[in-house]
């Protein structure tokens, strides 16, 4: 089978061997759970409970605050302690529901959905919506919105992003190894929404075992194909992935649906399976706790809302004092300065490193080597864009397609002069996006 890929990209140190062979362990939260009302793209959710209320496992505690928004369900039973400002990974304070865990795990009565064949399109989407599912790869875009495309019969490919191209992350890998049937079932659910689509499981070739496994499991599934991707970062970025799988190109102004594609990450697909087949809302996810500062790196099934410090404890704590902790992968995740933060729907990993490579590096003069251009998956000129950003030249920034940047960080990664390319471009984009909204 040929390996599909995109133009550009890098091969960073993978670090996956630390946690790759560690089976998923369940951990139960010891302390309070915190649910930020804004842990997805779109309007913040609106609380349905007030302090003092009793909640059950699976109970909806906040309602979607608009069309592009998602609801939130409690993962434990207990009492609502407060609705207050709490810090999240980005460093911002976000209004959050705090639940005191009573450790009883009393479940809300769950009505098992009818078999998939009997469900209508609207019913399936409602299940997904009521489960509060968002893109769990990191973006956090509400899944029910993604799946509500205008012309479902025009969708040709439903792509499951199993690339997991970020270094260190192994949560999707463990999912594929341990629960392949859930991924396949979830994909079948999504496929039932799009009558003319083929399901594609896109997997990087460093996970050869998963490729074989899925091929075996899908022999009798004419609508599901396995696609082998070259191991390269950012293979899992939406536009790169669509190009690798279908050779269709997409710029920032268009949506995957415009070229007949729907892309979902593996964990999201499992959540869809849980919601539509078993009627269970999104309450937990797999998180990889890893890095050279962690005593026993591994993969954990975590109740959303659990405090990060508990996760680190579950992984044996620190073996040496970490200099840097990253929520998410090292290429696109957030550096965090404290661990008193809640696990959100989009938290795929905690990477704890004993050494912060970046703060040791002094940026020097650009030598015009062209490496940043070569690796940029958006085919931009990061050297120029970063310059325009630093000098705040808006017009040039737009002329050189600054808004097409996918913020993958490849340019900063390769730059021999260690310039802060992606960082500059990112802040400029933020500024321009803010301006556009006004």
């Amino acid at each position: 089978m040929t390996r599909s890929t995109f133009v550009g990209g890098i091969h960073p140190y993978e670090g996956k061997e630390l946690s790759k062979d560690k089976p998923i362990q369940d951990i139960l939260p010891k302390n309070d759970l915190v649910y930020p009302l804004s842990q997805h793209i779109g309007a913040p959710a609106v609380p349905l409970v007030k302090p003092g209320d009793k909640v059950l496992v699976g109970q909806k505690i906040a309602e979607a605050g608009g069309f592009v928004s998602a609801c939130i369900c409690s993962a434990v039973s207990g009492t609502v302690k407060a609705i207050e400002q709490r810090r999240v990974v980005t460093g911002d304070m976000v209004s959050s529901i705090v639940i005191e865990n009573d450790h009883q795990y009393e479940e809300k009565e769950i009505e098992k959905p009818r078999p998939l064949e009997d469900l209508s399109r609207e019913e399936i989407i409602t299940y997904i919506k009521e489960a509060g599912i968002v893109g769990m790869g990191g973006a956090g875009f509400p899944t029910h919105v993604k799946l509500s495309v205008k012309e479902p019969e025009k969708i040709e490919y439903v792509i499951v992003n199993c690339a997991e191209c970020e270094p260190y992350l192994t949560s999707d890998y463990r999912r594929m190894v341990e629960e392949p049937d859930k991924i396949i079932q979830g994909l079948q659910v999504v496929l039932s929404l799009f009558p003319n689509a083929k399901g594609i499981l896109a997997i990087e070739d460093n996970k050869q075992d998963c490729i074989e496994l899925f091929k075996e499991k899908t022999v009798d599934e004419p609508r599901i194909l396995v696609k082998k991707l070259k191991t390269k970062y950012p293979q899992g970025a939406e536009r790169s992935l669509i190009y690798a799988v279908t050779k269709r190109k997409l710029d920032s102004t268009r949506l995957p649906a415009d070229v007949g594609c729907v892309v979902n990450n593996a964990d999201t697909i499992v959540a869809v399976c849980q919601a539509v087949i078993h009627g269970r809302p999104l309450m937990e996810r797999i998180v990889t706790i890893t890095g050279d500062a962690i005593k026993e790196p591994g993969n954990f099934r975590v109740k959303i809302g659990t405090n990060y410090s508990e996760l680190i404890e579950a992984a044996g704590g620190f073996k040496s004092e970490p200099e840097k902790i990253i929520s998410g992968g090292p290429m696109m995740g957030f550096g965090i300065f404290e661990t008193d933060l809640p696990t959100t729907k989009t938290a795929s990993a905690l990477v704890c490193l004993t050494r912060d490579e970046v703060s040791l590096l002094e940026p020097t003069a650009c030598i015009n080597c062209g490496r940043c251009l070569e690796v940029c998956p958006a085919r931009l000129m990061p050297n120029k864009l970063s310059d325009f950003s630093a000098k705040h030249k808006e017009e040039e920034f737009l002329n050189y397609y600054g808004m097409e940047c996918v913020e993958c960080g490849c340019c900063s990664y390769v730059c021999p002069a260690k310039r802060y390319l992606a960082q500059n471009i990112k802040s400029m984009r933020k500024l321009m996006l803010g301006k556009k909204k006004k």
Binding site: P12, Y13, P167, Y243, K249, L250, D251, S252, R254, S309, E321, P322, E323, K324, I325, P330, M331, M332, G333, F334, G335, I336, F337, E338, D340, V351, L353, D356, E357, V358, S359, L361, T364, A365, C366, I367, N368, C369, G370, R371, L373, E374, P377, A378, R379, L380, M381, N383, Y401, E404, E407, S412, Y413, P416, A417, K418, Y420, A422, Q423, K426
Partner: protein
């Protein structure tokens, strides 16, 4: 538990390659050419190389100390400049030419324009052209102990033939580093394998030059004539080490092809219709001046952007 840790913007990991590595690789790649130059022309060549490199590095150091700027000689770019300049000098030049050349390259061509990355002209070639214009007779005096005859290209120009095999090996007259095609290609292969340079510029340069020479040159596609042109006159050194200089070649991929072709065209004109054999230096300098324009024209279209209807 609540110690403040380092936070910074993404990405949190970086590649291992630094500017120093790249420059050191270039220095290493130039060693075969230096070695052969010393073997070919004797110990005097070694002294010329050392003096030129030293004056280039010291100029950068003193300038930065005087201006209270951070000292950047650790990045080895001044060493590269010094080496390249030395390899482009005839072995008979007086000592002070090396010093003047080194100072001019660093001070005027590089530092006054803002230092590494800001210069629009290759410092080594800028200095060489300055020396050629100011001290023409000294710079074109190829009389030395090892050889007395004219350079092979001068022979070709006057209608005679040159011994091609000697030229490929380097057993002939010329500047210190330009004579041995083999030594230069050896170094170039090292850089190509490491991925420090690629074939875009040298390839399009050499191919376009050969095509022009074959179609419009005095000898057509005569094998010996063409190989002599490639091996002589600093063509190899220019194509693989000077034209590929990051700072002074276009950064866009298409621009690099355009740039290579322009160099081929200019070299062809200078060599065939010009009066001196220094076509490569002048071609690259002029090419350097066109780079901003080439970059502007060849700006790549972003991924997925559709052509405007």
């Amino acid at each position: 538990m609540n110690t403040i840790r380092k936070v910074s913007s993404t990405p949190h990991v970086r590649g291992k390659v630094t500017t120093n590595h790249l420059m050191l690789a270039v220095v290493t790649a130039l060693l075969p050419a230096c070695g052969y130059g010393i073997y070919n022309f004797g110990n005097r060549a070694l002294w010329i190389i050392l003096i030129t490199v030293a004056s280039a590095v010291l100029t950068e150091l003193f300038y930065e100390l005087l201006c209270k700027r951070p000292v950047t000689i650790g990045d080895f770019s001044a060493v590269v400049t010094g080496l390249l300049l030395a390899l482009n000098l005839p072995v008979s030049v007086p000592w002070w030419i090396c010093v003047v050349g080194g100072i001019f390259a660093i001070l005027v061509v590089k530092m006054l324009f803002g230092g590494l990355g800001q210069n629009f002209m290759n410092p080594a070639f800028g200095a060489r052209c300055f020396l050629l214009i100011s001290f023409t007779s000294l710079m074109t005096n190829f009389e030395c102990d090892a050889y007395t005859g004219p350079t092979p290209l001068a022979l070709l120009k006057s209608g005679e033939t040159a011994n091609v095999y000697d030229m490929i090996l380097g057993r002939c007259n010329g500047t210190i580093g330009e004579t041995s095609m083999i030594a230069i290609i050896l170094g170039a292969c090292f850089l190509l394998l490491l991925g420090v340079i690629d074939l875009r510029v040298p390839g399009s340069y050499i191919v376009s030059f050969v095509i022009l020479l074959g179609m419009f040159g005095p000898a057509g596609f005569d094998f010996n004539y063409i190989v002599a042109h490639l091996a002589g006159g600093g063509m190899m050194l220019g194509a693989f080490f000077m034209a590929t200089d990051y700072v002074t070649r276009p950064v866009t991929v298409n621009g690099q092809y355009v740039y290579g072709m322009i160099l081929g065209l200019l070299t062809f004109f200078f060599r065939i219709y010009g009066s001196s054999a220094e076509g490569v230096s002048y071609a690259i300098i002029i090419g350097n001046l066109l780079v901003p324009l080439i970059e502007k024209i060849t700006r790549p279209r972003a991924f997925g952007i559709r052509r405007k209807m």
